[in-house]
């Protein structure tokens, strides 16, 4: 614990970094807020005028808006569920001493090093493609009709791709937590008559609670902004079936050149992110104490 003297010194030393970060954050946010109240279209930059709440009303009344919010939440929740559950399972597996452990661990981590658009393209063209993807081959092998993933299950497909990318991150964090679990505690529980399932529920899971929280918080930040995977696979379609909030904003800004509308969308996204953050901190934040 810091004494009072070191605390004030520490505050002084921290100040430049915090002020810089604050400026870094406030200026773009302020500009976005300002633009969101303007009629500002790049196709007609001279016609820029004050718009009041129009951009917000416009965004809100867009039928794609609620779809996008729902899709954003589904994407985040779906990926979180898969990565946390899968990450725990894989971490448990590769924590056991096995032959070629080093290689296996590197292989498990490797998807994280593939850039998002590349990963999405690989999945789109080599794995999920209805005629020459691996999944289609497997389906045909069993005599079934291949699934056209991006047409039939666009959001699910994107969830699978993103989960594949984030699984290594979750695994890595959860594995380090698992490795710090005290062996004697496990042995004590074994002697106390706890089977492997009870040991997992009563010891392993509570021990990993903090790591799981970290995984959920960090991933949520990144998952709210998923965009590249949608762009290179479904383009948000069919219809709005795989459009999330980020993609909707992109559509406003880059396809319609509507800076004001995009800025309003950005502000809405920030508000949504904060709502999610509040819920998250309520739900899992206590594990971080």
């Amino acid at each position: 614990m810091a004494t009072r003297q070191t605390a004030s010194l520490a505050r002084l030393m921290r100040a430049p970094a915090i002020i810089l970060l604050l400026i870094w954050m406030i200026v773009p946010l302020g500009m976005t807020l300002y633009y969101s109240f303007l009629n500002y279209n790049l196709l007609n930059p001279t016609g820029t005028s004050w718009a009041g709440w129009f951009n917000y009303q416009y965004f809100y009344s867009d039928p794609a808006f609620f779809d996008a919010i729902w899709n954003t939440l589904a994407l985040v929740l779906g990926v979180l569920t898969i990565t946390v559950v899968g990450g725990i399972a894989i971490a448990l597996l590769i924590d056991k001493p096995i032959f070629g452990q080093g290689i296996v661990r590197i292989l498990v981590i490797s998807p994280f090093f593939v850039m998002p658009p590349v990963a999405a393209l690989i999945w789109k063209n080599m794995i999920m493609h209805p005629s020459y993807g691996v999944f289609a081959d497997i389906a045909r092998f069993f005599g079934a009709q291949p699934v056209d993933w991006f047409a039939q299950f666009p959001l699910t497909s994107i969830i699978i791709i993103v989960a594949w990318q984030w699984l290594p991150f979750a695994t890595l964090i959860l594995l380090t937590a698992l490795q710090s679990l005290d062996g004697e505690q496990m042995e004590a529980a074994e002697m106390d008559g706890a089977g492997s399932l009870s040991r997992f529920i009563h010891l392993t899971l509570p021990h990993m609670a903090r790591a799981i929280t970290v995984v959920i918080l960090i991933q949520t930040i990144f998952l709210l902004g998923i965009y590249a995977e949608i762009l290179v696979t479904t383009n948000g379609g069919p219809g709005n079936a795989s459009t999330n909030l980020t993609y909707l904003i992109y559509r406003a800004a880059r396809l319609n050149f509507d800076i004001g509308g995009a800025a309003a969308g950005g502000i809405i996204a920030v508000i949504l992110a904060n709502i999610v953050a509040v819920f998250l901190m309520r739900a899992v934040g206590k594990n971080l104490d």
């Binding site: 505690q185 002697m191 010891l203 021990h207």
Partner: protein
């Protein structure tokens, strides 16, 4: 019931034989202490009994039944670890209740046993705390409480007091001894603390390199150590082991005399020497006598009020009935 028999129990880690075939009988209700130098296999032996390690050979019988391949949970033994191994996210109450929960003991019975254990171990005020909010001694008591409520056939302790400070250690030592007297359950206790071994044990097992050097009551080992290793290991301060002409006088290669069996005098005696270091403890005084012409510095215990100091010339007389004689192999000569 808690009768434990080891028959030719062997343990190898890879090519290293940590425990060569070993036989040991532990009677029901006995307090057995394993002592030995660090790395001699005390913990390994305890873990073999607990079932936390697989044997490489031999049999472990509990109450006459072969338990060699029985999983730890079904051996009916409870273990207290050196690191306490409490479950950090559970309250003291939940920690103690855990083995009963796993055994589906009904709630009323659980509460009764927790209350009884907490009262016996002075934990009643701490039941709702987490282990992280307890002192070392309290944590140790929780670990013992968790073991008691299972009503095991035997308790296994692996250096349970080594993380505690000296004063607390004495207190806990007494508490564990009292517990044994009250429960009359078999206890196996690993330590390398002399005093714990001597004061608590019904039976001490002295181990060296996985091998039993001697088994016996504390006073047996003190009075008739079977060889030089046990002679040097049991007793504090260590027995003086003298070789050379002084030993030859007694027809032995080595003779051993405990510090408390040597009389110090300023005027007359068998061996003449000079006081090197002297430690005045109040109740006792320990002298380290040099320049005696013997093979090593002689440790002597004298009364607390004795008026001799560093540099004084003194005479030493060993009690002739308390001289231990050992042959060239280091074995006791009867």
């Amino acid at each position: 019931m808690g009768r434990i028999t080891l028959e030719n129990v062997t343990k190898r880690f890879g090519d290293v034989e940590v425990i060569p075939p070993l036989n040991l009988d532990i009677e029901d209700g006995e307090f057995v202490v394993f002592v030995g130098p660090s790395g001699c296999g005390k913990s390994t032996l305890l873990r073999l009994i607990a079932g936390l390690e697989d044997t490489s050979g031999g049999q472990i019988l509990i109450d006459g039944n072969d338990a060699t391949d029985t999983p730890p949970a079904r051996r009916g033994l409870a273990m207290v670890f050196q690191s306490y191994a409490l479950y950090p996210h559970m309250s003291v109450r939940k920690n103690i209740a855990f083995p009963m929960r796993m055994a589906n003991v009904d709630q009323a019975e659980q509460d009764r046993r927790i209350a009884a254990a907490a009262a016996a171990l002075n934990l009643t005020d701490y039941l709702d705390r987490r282990p992280g909010q307890l002192s070392g001694g309290q944590r140790q008591r929780v670990a013992i409480g968790r073991a008691i409520v299972r009503e095991p056939a035997a308790f296994l302790f692996d250096e349970p007091l080594s993380n505690l400070d000296a004063a607390l250690r004495v207190g806990m030592r007494l508490e564990i001894s009292e517990l044994h007297q009250r429960l009359k359950t078999t206890m196996i206790y690993v330590t390398h603390d002399q005093v714990e071994a001597m004061t608590m044990a019904d039976k001490i097992v002295v181990l060296r390199a996985g091998h039993i050097e001697q088994v016996g009551s504390p006073m047996d080992l003190y009075r008739t150590p079977r060889n030089l290793f046990v002679a040097g290991f049991i007793g504090s301060p260590k027995m003086n082991l003298i070789t050379g002409p002084a030993a030859a006088d007694h027809d032995a290669t080595t003779i051993g005399v405990r510090p408390e069996h040597i009389k110090v005098s300023a005027t007359e005696g068998t061996w003449k020497g000079r006081i090197g270091v002297s430690e005045h403890l109040g109740s006792d005084t320990f002298f380290y006598i040099e320049d005696t012409g013997l093979s090593e510095t002689i440790t002597v215990r004298a009364g607390g009020e004795i008026d001799l100091h560093h540099g004084d010339t003194v005479w030493l007389t060993p009690d002739p009935t308390k001289i231990h004689r050992f042959d060239a192999q280091g074995d006791r000569i009867a």
